[in-house]
């Protein structure tokens, strides 16, 4: 029975989810309208449901909604500011790192967490960070280019675009 209330901060806003004990965070958030989270494998393999919970990128199919009580949760919906795409989102578009788009929100959130922690990742570090996110279309090279481009823009090496602090 859906009778449990879970209070979270979702993309900066206090949000109450009403769930069953068995509801995963993935399903609770999708039912709440957060459809950037994709229900891919539901066993932690694909990474299409990746979100950032309390600063750490995680797979939301492996978390029960009630475990998120009090948590600060960020999804792709929270990256868009005043209708403007986040530089990571824009870089994925510019580099052709999207085909079917199913893995993209997860890739973007993993990238966001990586660049927060490590603003200047090496190719090796980018590949390592993305190992939990599977893409069956683009072949990863475009995705890695998009992450490098995002890193350059966010660290201000983009010839006068926004700076890290803007995001």
């Amino acid at each position: 029975m859906k009778d449990k209330r879970v209070t979270i901060t979702l993309n900066g806003r206090k949000t109450i989810l009403v769930v069953e004990d068995r509801t995963t965070l993935l399903n609770a958030l999708r039912e709440h309208g957060v459809t950037s989270l994709k229900r891919g494998c539901e066993e932690g393999e694909c990474g299409a449901c990746t979100l950032i919970m309390n600063g750490l990128p995680q797979k939301s199919c492996l978390i029960l909604a009630r475990e998120a009580e009090g948590a600060d949760i960020l999804t792709v919906e929270g990256l868009v500011k005043k209708g403007r795409l986040h530089p990571i989102q824009q870089a994925f578009i510019d580099e052709g790192a999207i085909q079917c788009g199913y893995c993209t929100p997860g890739m973007v959130m993993t990238t966001y967490a990586l660049l927060k922690k490590n603003p200047y990742p090496s190719d090796e570090e980018i590949r390592e960070a993305l190992t939990g996110n599977i893409c069956r279309c683009t072949g990863y090279l475009a995705i890695i280019r998009a992450v490098k481009k995002s890193a350059a823009i966010l660290s201000g090496n983009n010839g006068g675009g926004g700076t890290r602090e803007d995001y």
């Binding site: 069953e20 004990d21 068995r22 995963t24 539901e42 066993e43 932690g44 393999e45 990474g47 990746t50 750490l56 990128p57 995680q58 797979k59 199919c61 492996l62 978390i63 029960l64 009630r66 475990e67 009580e69 993993t110 390592e128 960070a129 190992t131 939990g132 996110n133």
Partner: protein, 291 residues
């Protein structure tokens, strides 16, 4: 997923009273990266899940004078990022890095890995080599057992229905050490070991090798004969390493399954043991505690 009641106790004593109420109808979960998959696949259908993630007492890596406690909710990512564990227990850190992917490592716990007790669990061999003690608390008090006695078979542990593992404790080495965890896998992430070898070398006057395996035995297993040979040889040359690798592959008893055949696993144990011994002799060097 079949419905269940989720219990979220806030303290160890609440966990124990909850377990006493529900007995064998309950499953304990920490990170949940195994348990939630079992529930999805209906491999387990418990009436109650006792979730430990709200128990503050079960969080943290605590360095004491001569040992370290890795509490039940410590994730693999926390181990990887901990400077002390990197210094003293490099093989454990390597095993953590080899496990699943960075996203899962943000939830999966070291203690959960040994409680799942699957023979391919990456934490088992390094914890056997470092002689970690599993700290167990139940309604009738607390006890400590070595990892090798804690796991009694595939997916079976000596944990009672009214007990939980509160953490593991490992003595800090008093001499310089080196160690490594080498794993045969089909792809570099999100794969389960076909076979793996952990080798640690405690240097100093009484040089001691320890070698343990992953995914090639029903219970935790050490290569005692190979260790004896290495510990008794003054000069470890290629010949000795070859003999030790042979002794190591003699003691393993793997199964054939979807990931690899028994024969392949035995071959890989010989090869990985060879490489692991060489790696330990050449470093990377972990530190001992200055006494």
């Amino acid at each position: 997923m079949r419905d269940f009641v989720l219990e979220r106790p806030r303290s160890i004593s609440e966990v124990l009273s909850t377990l006493q109420r529900h007995g064998k109808k309950a499953i304990v979960k920490s990170g949940g990266t195994d348990v939630i998959v079992w529930l999805h696949k209906s491999l387990k259908e418990p009436d109650y899940i006792v979730d430990l993630t709200a128990v503050e007492q079960l969080k943290g890596i605590i360095m004491n004078e001569d040992n370290v406690e890795v509490k039940a909710l410590v994730t693999l990512s926390e181990v990887i990022e901990d400077n002390s564990l990197n210094r003293y227990f490099p093989a454990l850190v390597q095993a953590c890095k080899s496990h699943s992917d960075p996203l899962i490592r943000n939830r999966a716990t070291v203690v959960g890995n040994i409680c799942s007790a699957v023979p391919s669990g990456d934490m088992i061999a390094p914890l056997v080599c470092y002689d970690a003690k599993v700290e167990i608390t139940g309604t009738n008090g607390s006890r400590k057992v070595p990892v090798s006695e804690f796991i009694i078979g595939p997916k079976r542990t000596s944990l009672g229905a009214d007990e939980i593992v509160t953490g593991i404790r490992i003595s800090l080495p008093v001499v310089e050490t080196s160690g490594c965890y080498l794993k045969a896998i089909r792809r570099e992430a999100l794969d389960i070991a076909q076979a793996a070898v952990c080798c640690t070398l405690f240097k100093g006057d009484n040089r001691e090798f320890r070698i343990a395996f992953c995914a090639v035995s029903a219970r935790p297993l050490r290569a005692t004969e190979a260790e004896k040979l290495l510990n008794s040889c003054g000069n470890i040359d290629d010949n000795v390493i070859e003999q030790a690798a042979g002794l190591a592959s003699d003691v393993v008893d793997p199964i054939t399954d979807v990931r690899a055949s028994r024969e392949y696993r035995i071959e890989m144990i010989a090869e990985l043991t060879r490489r692991a011994i060489s790696n330990c002799l050449e470093g990377p060097v972990g530190e001992g505690v200055q006494k």
